[in-house]
């Protein structure tokens, strides 16, 4: 330390007579400088008033501390990435039983229709890819995600949270769909699984332009139209889009959508809420 506090300043500091900025500089210097700390200690032991104030301060501090052994409130769990992933998942609608139950019911209903119905409609293949699309639509930025207004103002609430929510929707609905599809006797799962992936990624890609909700609605209508267009041609037994031949095309759609999402990632910074004022309740 090349400079030291004048004794007058230290006395002023002891007496509480300096202005805030001076007090802060004194404290900043004291943390660095042992010589001035020692001088302050000497001044304070010599000064009766200062000594009393110091004693009172310690007594007040001791009184405010919890008694030894008293129950301290539990601390927040350690800050790990696992904890982060768990919390971000738990916030989404996937963590709600009502939501999971709704998805399961839709899939089971489609499976039952497929198993019982003798018509040519591939109920299960039609419905299964729509479930994750609608799941993503309700889990990000929709009215079901109550704190979306606050989330919209956070740096982590953009594409990252959307991908976490999307992944959680896919991970939750795919096993249910696989079991339901298997039990219904519907054919190979690969075409509808790939269709699920392609439609979900396309929802995010299109959603970066028109919003996730509108994108999901548009793609759902489009999907139903594509599947049912097969019935215009009586020769086909299965809509082309749900056959093994369509698989490379579905993979291509998914890949293109993934590229679009990556290129337009900044657009997701403003997607969570509409910029209009929403009237809640």
């Amino acid at each position: 330390m090349s400079w030291h506090l004048p004794a007058a300043t230290l006395r002023g500091y002891l007496a509480g007579a300096v202005t805030d900025p001076v007090g802060w500089s004194v404290e900043a210097h004291l943390t660095e400088c042992e010589r001035c700390r020692r001088l302050l200690a000497e001044l304070s032991t010599a000064d009766e008033q200062a000594r009393r104030r110091l004693d009172d301060g310690w007594a007040a501090l001791a009184a405010a501390l919890p008694p030894p052994g008293a129950a301290t409130p539990d601390r927040a769990p350690a800050g790990t990435r696992w904890r982060e992933a768990w919390l971000l998942l738990a916030g989404g609608p996937v963590a709600r039983w009502a939501w999971l139950l709704a998805c399961a019911l839709v899939l089971v209903f489609a499976a039952v229709l497929t198993a019982v119905e003798t018509s040519r409609v591939p109920w299960f293949g039609l419905v299964a890819p729509l479930v994750p699309v609608l799941g993503v639509a309700v889990s990000y930025g929709s009215r079901l995600d109550a704190p979306r207004e606050i989330i919209a103002a956070t740096p982590g609430g953009g594409l990252r949270l959307l991908l976490i929510r999307t992944l959680s929707v896919l991970l939750a609905t795919t096993p249910i769909a696989l079991v339901a599809g298997h039990l219904s006797g519907y054919g190979a799962p690969t075409p509808w699984l790939l269709a699920s992936l392609a439609l979900t990624l396309a929802t995010l890609a299109l959603g970066s332009v028109i919003g996730i909700g509108w994108a999901a609605a548009g793609l759902a209508v489009g999907w139903v139209a594509v599947v049912s267009s097969a019935f215009l041609y009586p020769v086909w037994r299965q809509p082309l889009v749900l056959t093994a031949e369509a698989e490379p095309w579905l993979v291509a759609v998914a890949a293109v959508a993934a590229v679009v999402i990556a290129l337009r990632r900044e657009a997701f910074n403003h997607l969570t809420v509409h910029s209009r004022i929403e009237v809640l309740k």
Binding site: P73, L87, L88, P147, E149, T154, P155, G156, V273, K281
Partner: protein
């Protein structure tokens, strides 16, 4: 927190225009704010919520320049940086009813990208500052309205924001809590820029160092609470001096607009 020291203004807005369809919510608004507690006053529909939403980077302006913490909000990289240093409590805020107080505040600590190691301490400190540490493990659905409001404030301050935006934060707080809350605001306002919208004029008089009065999407007054009180005259309605100042300035602004 090791946030960089900010030189210059926290909020700099020029020629801001926000429209919802045909309705113009903010018209050519200019505003600069620095550290301190700033009160945002104005009648219903004056544009207070819209202004706060623009500053929270939630609503996008139609025209105009908005610079927060020294950076333009249109720059995507800067936006991320700004949002890390932002605290925002909307007027009506939704929550996850099955989350505990601690989980809810922690949720936003993660979304605000705090360093993982500092999350637990930051969460507990924020909950302590709003006086809810003894209820930290209670589920949100079991809390009263005033407590929920305090949870909302805790999530807003969990990242020690440099810019804190609070839209009607005192709604639902009882008088004692309001006094404590003003104390907290003054404490935060020493290093940060705090903007509080309110319709309770006495909150402004007690807690704010500066007042901005909005009417019909324009700034019609800027100054200290004392200056606002001094603007009142014998003819204006209101019980407290600051209320009389408020009504006098609104009346003058409207007469000016008609003329």
């Amino acid at each position: 927190m090791t946030s960089s020291i900010l030189l210059g203004t926290h909020v700099e807005v020029s020629d801001l225009v926000v429209r919802y369809g045909r309705r113009t919510a903010l018209r050519e608004l200019d505003l600069t704010l620095d550290t301190g507690v700033h009160g945002l006053l104005g009648p219903n529909g004056a544009g207070k919520t819209t202004l706060i939403r623009v500053l929270a980077t939630v609503a996008s302006p139609k025209y105009g320049r908005v610079s927060l913490l020294g950076q333009d909000i249109r720059d995507h990289r800067a936006l991320r940086e700004i949002r890390r240093r932002l605290g925002y409590l909307p007027q009506q805020f939704g929550y996850y009813p099955r989350f505990t107080v601690r989980e809810f505040v922690e949720y936003f600590a993660w979304l605000k990208e705090l360093p993982p190691a500092s999350v637990p301490a930051a969460v507990d400190r924020a909950i302590e500052r709003v006086g809810l540490l003894d209820r930290a493990d209670e589920k949100l659905k079991r809390l009263s309205g005033g407590m929920l409001r305090r949870v909302g404030i805790a999530q807003a301050i969990v990242n020690d924001p440099d810019l804190l935006l609070l839209d009607e934060p005192t709604a639902g707080l009882d008088p004692e809590q309001r006094v404590e809350f003003r104390e907290l605001l003054r404490e935060i306002g020493v290093d940060a820029c705090v903007l509080v919208s309110t319709h309770l004029v006495e909150d402004v008089a007690a807690a704010c160092s500066h007042v901005t009065l909005l009417d019909q999407g324009r700034v019609v007054f800027r100054g200290t609470p004392d200056e606002l009180a001094a603007a009142g005259d014998g003819n204006s309605g209101g019980d407290a001096p600051i209320e009389r100042g408020y009504t006098a300035i609104l009346r003058a602004a409207r007469q000016g607009a008609e003329a």
